[in-house]
C-alpha cells in the first residue's frame, strides 16, 4: 500500500519552494555528511585552527611545521560536516480534529501537512528525522536512520491516521520525547497547545538540557482565534465532551485576550530556549505558512 506525500502536500506550491531548508541554529553533532557543521574535528580538508597539544590527543594531529617554527606542540584542527536530526511531535488529540468551515482544513490535517512538508525538507537536505504522536503520552515514536527514501516513506505512512477522540497528554508526550532526543537536535511540536502553561514550561525545560532547538507550531482554527460565533449555545468540548453554555458576544474579547496571553506566555517560555513559536491559522495554506517561516528563519 502506498502512502503518497501528495495526500498532504500541494505539489504546485511545493515546487515553488525548492530552495527552502530547515537549518539548525546550532552546530549539529552528527556523523553523516550534510548541511550542518560538526563541532568534532575530523578528516576534512577544511582547516579550522590550532590549539595546544594535550596528553590525550592523538600525536598524529600534531602539526610539526608549527612546532619547528614555534618550538611548541600544537594540534591542527580540521572542520568536518555532519547531518542533523529533527524530531517531529504531532498532537493527535480530538481537539485537533476540528474545523469551523467546509473550506478549511481540520487542524489535524493541517498539522499532518506541515509534518509531511517538514519530512520532505529534512529528507531533501539529507538530515534524519524522527516522528512521534502525542496521545496518551508519546505514541508510535519512530526514528529514521539516515536520509534514505525508505525512511521518508515509512514516516509518511504513519501520518495516515485520524486524530484520537481522547484527550491527549501533550506535556507527558513532550517529557517522554525529551528523554529520547539526542543532543543538538531540532524538536518540532505541532499542536494547539491546550495545556496549562506551567505544564508546558516544565516539559520545555527538559529540552534545554540537551542543547536542542525547540520549534512550536500552534495550529488553530480561525474561530479559535477570534471566537466569531454569531449566536450562543452550549459549547461541547471535543475531547472531554464537557458542556458549557456560552454567549459569544459576552466573552469574545476576553477569550481573544486569554488566547493571546497564553500564546505570549508560551512564546516567552520558548524564547528562553532560543526556540520559536509560530501560531498558524488553518485559513492560511500550510505550505505557504511554512515557507514564510523557513524563509525568515536564520540558521547555521
Amino acid at each position: 500500500m502506498e502512502y503518497p506525500l501528495t495526500e498532504f502536500l500541494d505539489i504546485d506550491l511545493l515546487n515553488r519552494l525548492p530552495t527552502l531548508e530547515l537549518r539548525a541554529r546550532f552546530i549539529v553533532d552528527g556523523f553523516l555528511t550534510g548541511l550542518h557543521r560538526s563541532p568534532l574535528k575530523g578528516s576534512s580538508a577544511e582547516f579550522m585552527g590550532y590549539r595546544d597539544y594535550q596528553q590525550q590527543d592523538d600525536p598524529k594531529l600534531i602539526d610539526w611545521k608549527v612546532y619547528a617554527r614555534s618550538d611548541r606542540l600544537h594540534v591542527r584542527l580540521r572542520e568536518d560536516d555532519t547531518n542533523m536530526r529533527v524530531y517531529l511531535l504531532l498532537d493527535q488529540s480530538a481537539s485537533m480534529n476540528y474545523r469551523s468551515g467546509d473550506r478549511l482544513l481540520t487542524k489535524w490535517d493541517y498539522a499532518r501537512s506541515l509534518a509531511a512538508a517538514l519530512l520532505l525538507f529534512i529528507h531533501r537536505q539529507r538530515d534524519s528525522a524522527a516522528l512521534g504522536f502525542a496521545g496518551d503520552g508519546l505514541t508510535d515514536f519512530v526514528r529514521g536512520e539516515g536520509s534514505r527514501l525508505s525512511h521518508l516513506q515509512a514516516m509518511t505512512a504513519m501520518l495516515y491516521r485520524d486524530a484520537d477522540a481522547n484527550q491527549s497528554r501533550l506535556d507527558d508526550a513532550m517529557t517522554e520525547l525529551a528523554g529520547k532526543v539526542e543532543r543538538r537536535s531540532i524538536v518540532i511540536v505541532i499542536s494547539d497547545f491546550y495545556e496549562e502553561i506551567d505544564h508546558l514550561q516544565e516539559s520545555l525545560k527538559r529540552f534545554s538540557h540537551d542543547c536542542c532547538e525547540v520549534i512550536l507550531f500552534r495550529v488553530l482554527d480561525p474561530r479559535e482565534l477570534d471566537f466569531d460565533f454569531k449566536r450562543g449555545g452550549i459549547f461541547v468540548d471535543r475531547e472531554s465532551q464537557a458542556e458549557l453554555p456560552v454567549n459569544p458576544e459576552l466573552i469574545r474579547h476576553k477569550y481573544a485576550r486569554a488566547v493571546a496571553t497564553h500564546t505570549e506566555q508560551l512564546r516567552q517560555s520558548i524564547g528562553r530556549l532560543s526556540g520559536d513559536l509560530l501560531v498558524l491559522s488553518t485559513s492560511m495554506p500550510p505550505l505557504e505558512a511554512l515557507g514564510l517561516y523557513l524563509a525568515q528563519r536564520k540558521g547555521f
Partner: protein, 663 residues
C-alpha cells in the same frame, strides 16, 4: 389623575407589541456547538455575568416598551386636569346677542341659557359665549357655574347682527381641546332659528361635537329637533291636473329623526312618512291632484310633523294659484334691513303675489293714483303731491298699508288718514305679544284653518300706541288700549295700519310659518282695480342705491383674497366683504342666512383681523370679574414634553444598554 386630549393616539401604544414580538420571536432554541476545547472558555466564562446579561436583556426590552408607550402617550397630549372632579363632558353655551334680540327677548335668552347651565350634568365643564357681531367669551372652561351664569345674565345684546360662523368654529376648536366624552354646543336663540339651523349644515363641526339649538319658552327646549321645511318648488300644472312638488326637508340636528309630511291644497291633503338623516337635506317629491277648477286655492301648505320640534319651522306656504296680482307701490326698506315683506309678496319669480313697483320720491303722483295698493313703510316721506295722490287712490277704491316707523313723516301720514299716535313706544324696554287676535276676520281667519305657529308667541319690539277711527276693525291688539293691526275704510278704499315694523328690528315673526300667510290674506282685502295678466319679477334682494365699484372678500387673516363681481353683488358665501361704493367703503358681514346680513359703514380704525377674531373678555377684565382667563381653554397642565423627554430617555437608554448587552 392624568387625562388625554387626543386619546386616540393611545392606540399607538399597541406598537409595544412590536418589540415584544421581536423579543420572543428572536429567541432561538439552544444549540450544541462542538468546540475543540473549553480550555479558554472556562477561563473567561462567568455565570454571574451571564445572569447579569440576562437581566440587561430584560431591561433593554423594558426600555424599548417604555419608549414606545411614552411616545404614544406624548402624542395623546396628556395633561393633569385642573378640575378636581371627574370631567365627563364639556359644553359651550352660545347665546344670541344679535340685533334681533331686543331688550326683553335678549333677557329671555339669557335666562334660558342660565337655566341650561343648571341642567348640565355635574361632570360637565362649561364655557359661555355671547354672539353678536363677534363672540365674547366668558373665559375658559370652568366648573364654576355661578360665574358662567353671571356672565350669561349680565351680557347685553350687540348693536349689530349676529355672525355665528366664527364663534361656532371657535367653540368647536375650544371643545376639541377638552378630553371628555361628550362635547356639546348649545345655541340659545330666538325664533330666527332657521339661520342658526343652517349652521349645522354649513359649518362643519368636529366629529363628536354635537350642536343643539335651544329656543326659550319651548317646553323641553334643550332637546328640540332641528328640522325645517327648507323649500317647496311647484312644477307647472300639467294637463293631468296633478300638482307636483319638490319639498326640501332639512335636518340640522345631530340625530336622525322620523316624522310625517303632509301637503295640503285646499281640502286635498296627502300624508307620507319621512325619515331624515342627521345633518342633511332631503328632497321629497309629492304629487297630488289639483282640486276642481274654481276651487283652487291661491297657496298650499306643507307641514312636517316631528314630535318635539318647533312647528313654526316645519311649515311652509307656497303660492299656487295667485289670481289677479295687484300692483303694489312699495317703498324701499332701510338699507340695513332685509325686506321680509317683499319676501312674503314675491316668494319666487313664478308665483308673484303682487306686481311690485318701487315707490320713491321720483314716483309720479299720476302713477300713484292708479295704484292698487300702496305700501308705505320705513318712515318714507311722501311729497305733498304724493300724499294727495295716495289719498285719491284709496278714496277711489285702492288700498293703503301703512307700517309703523317712529318718524315725523309716518306720524303725519297716519294723521292724514285719521289715525292718532298716542305714544311712540307704549312699553319702553319691554317686548310685546299679541293678546287679542280677531280670528273671525281676515287676514287671521286663515289661521283657524291651518295649525300655524302660535301667533301669541310672536314678539314685537318698540311698538306705538295708536288710536284708530271708530270705523276700524281691530284685528289684533297688544293690549286692550293698544291695537296692533287695524283695518278701516277710507272712501271706497281700505286702509290697513300695522302698529309695528314688519322686519327683524320690529318683530321675530316666523316668515314662512305665518308671516307669509298673513300678508297673503291681508292682500286679499284689497281688490285690484283691474285684472292684469302680466307678471313681473323682482329681485329677492334689491340692491342698495349706491353703485358698487369693488367687492373684496376678507378672509380670516384680514387679507384680500378674492375679487367678486363688479357692479352687482350677491354674496354666495358667508364671510366678511369690503364693498367700495362712490360714498366710501362698507363692511358687509354675510351670515348663512342673508336676512341676518348687515351693511355697516367701516369705521376709520376698522381692521378686519380684529373685527373677525377679536378676543372676548380681556384677561384683566376677566380676572376682575372672577372669570377664568381666556387662555384657560387648556384642560390642565400639559405633560406632552415630559412624556417626550421620557421617550427620548428610554430610547437613548435602550441604545446605550443594547450596545453593552449580548442580545
Amino acid at each position: 389623575m392624568m387625562a388625554f386630549t387626543s386619546a386616540i393616539f393611545l392606540l399607538g401604544g399597541l406598537a409595544v407589541a412590536v418589540p415584544l414580538a421581536l423579543h420572543f420571536l428572536r429567541r432561538k432554541p439552544v444549540v450544541r456547538i462542538p468546540f475543540p476545547s473549553l480550555f479558554f472558555l472556562r477561563a473567561v466564562h462567568s455565570p454571574s455575568s451571564q445572569r447579569f446579561n440576562d437581566l440587561k436583556k430584560w431591561l433593554v426590552l423594558l426600555l424599548r416598551c417604555l419608549a414606545v408607550l411614552a411616545l404614544a402617550m406624548a402624542f395623546a397630549l396628556p395633561f393633569l386636569p385642573k378640575f378636581g372632579h371627574a370631567v365627563t363632558g364639556a359644553a359651550v353655551i352660545l347665546t344670541d346677542a344679535s340685533l334681533s334680540m331686543q331688550s326683553g327677548h335678549c333677557g329671555d335668552v339669557n335666562h334660558a341659557a342660565a337655566e341650561l347651565v343648571d341642567r348640565l350634568d355635574s361632570g360637565t365643564v362649561v364655557l359661555a359665549g355671547a354672539v353678536g357681531d363677534i363672540a365674547v367669551w366668558s373665559g375658559g372652561f370652568t366648573d364654576q357655574r355661578e360665574t358662567v351664569k353671571k356672565f350669561l345674565l349680565e351680557h347685553g345684546r350687540s348693536d349689530t347682527g349676529g355672525g355665528y360662523e366664527n364663534p361656532l368654529r371657535q367653540a368647536d376648536a375650544k371643545l376639541r381641546k377638552q378630553p371628555v366624552e361628550h362635547r356639546t354646543i348649545y345655541l340659545v336663540t330666538d325664533r330666527q332659528k332657521r339661520a342658526w339651523k343652517n349652521v349645522r349644515l354649513d359649518t362643519p363641526l368636529s366629529p363628536g361635537v354635537e350642536l343643539r339649538i335651544v329656543t326659550p319658552g319651548i317646553p323641553s327646549d334643550a332637546t328640540v329637533s332641528n328640522t325645517a321645511v327648507d323649500d317647496v318648488r311647484v312644477e307647472p300644472v300639467a294637463a293631468d291636473r296633478r300638482v307636483r312638488l319638490a319639498v326640501t326637508l332639512a335636518n340640522y340636528g345631530h340625530d336622525p329623526v322620523a316624522g310625517s309630511l303632509s301637503v295640503q291644497i285646499g281640502k286635498t291633503a296627502k300624508n307620507l312618512p319621512v325619515k331624515l338623516a342627521s345633518a342633511g337635506k332631503n328632497t321629497v317629491a309629492v304629487e297630488l291632484p289639483l282640486p276642481a277648477a274654481g276651487s283652487v286655492p291661491e297657496y298650499g301648505q306643507v307641514r312636517l310633523d316631528i314630535d318635539d320640534d318647533l312647528p313654526a319651522d316645519n311649515q311652509y306656504f307656497f303660492p299656487l294659484n295667485v289670481r289677479n296680482p295687484p300692483a303694489v307701490f312699495l317703498t324701499r326698506p332701510p338699507d340695513r334691513e332685509p325686506d321680509f315683506v317683499l319676501t312674503a309678496l314675491v316668494p319666487d319669480d313664478a308665483h308673484a303675489c303682487v306686481l311690485p313697483h318701487a315707490l320713491t320720491a321720483a314716483t309720479s303722483p299720476e302713477a300713484l293714483k292708479r295704484a292698487d295698493i300702496c305700501l308705505i313703510r320705513s318712515g318714507f316721506a311722501l311729497t305733498p303731491d304724493q300724499v294727495a295722490a295716495v289719498q285719491q287712490a284709496v278714496r277711489t277704491g285702492g288700498g293703503l298699508i301703512l307700517t309703523w316707523e317712529n318718524s315725523p313723516s309716518t306720524i303725519r301720514l297716519l294723521e292724514a288718514f285719521g289715525v292718532t299716535v298716542l305714544r311712540t313706544e307704549q312699553a319702553p324696554g319691554r317686548t310685546l305679544t299679541l293678546t287679542d287676535i280677531n280670528f273671525e276676520l281676515p287676514p287671521f281667519k286663515k289661521f283657524t284653518e291651518t295649525p300655524t305657529g302660535s301667533l301669541y308667541d310672536v314678539v314685537f319690539y318698540r311698538s306705538p300706541q295708536l288710536k284708530f277711527p271708530d270705523s276700524a276693525d281691530i284685528l289684533a291688539r297688544f293690549a286692550p288700549d293698544a291695537p296692533a293691526v287695524g283695518l278701516f275704510p277710507f272712501g271706497s278704499g281700505t286702509v290697513c295700519v300695522l302698529a309695528f315694523r314688519p322686519d327683524r328690528t320690529g318683530t321675530d315673526w316666523p316668515v314662512h310659518a305665518s308671516f307669509v300667510p298673513f300678508w297673503h290674506e291681508l292682500l286679499k282685502q284689497f281688490k285690484p282695480r283691474a285684472v292684469r295678466n302680466s307678471r313681473m319679477t323682482a329681485s329677492l334682494k334689491p340692491l342698495a342705491g349706491e353703485e358698487l365699484r369693488e367687492v373684496e372678500r376678507l378672509d380670516r387673516a384680514g387679507e384680500t383674497s378674492e375679487l367678486l363681481r363688479q357692479g352687482r353683488f350677491i354674496p354666495a358665501q358667508a364671510g366678511a366683504y369690503r364693498l367700495t361704493t362712490a360714498a366710501g367703503q362698507k363692511l358687509l358681514c354675510v351670515n348663512h342666512d342673508p336676512e341676518e346680513s348687515l351693511l355697516a359703514y367701516m369705521p376709520e380704525n376698522f381692521h378686519p383681523e380684529t373685527a373677525l377674531s377679536r378676543p372676548g373678555v380681556p384677561p384683566e377684565a376677566a380676572a376682575d370679574a372672577g372669570l377664568p382667563r381666556e387662555d384657560s381653554d387648556s384642560p390642565g397642565r400639559p405633560l406632552f414634553l415630559w412624556f417626550l423627554v421620557l421617550a427620548l430617555l428610554c430610547g437613548g437608554g435602550e441604545l446605550w444598554l443594547s450596545n453593552r448587552t449580548a442580545l
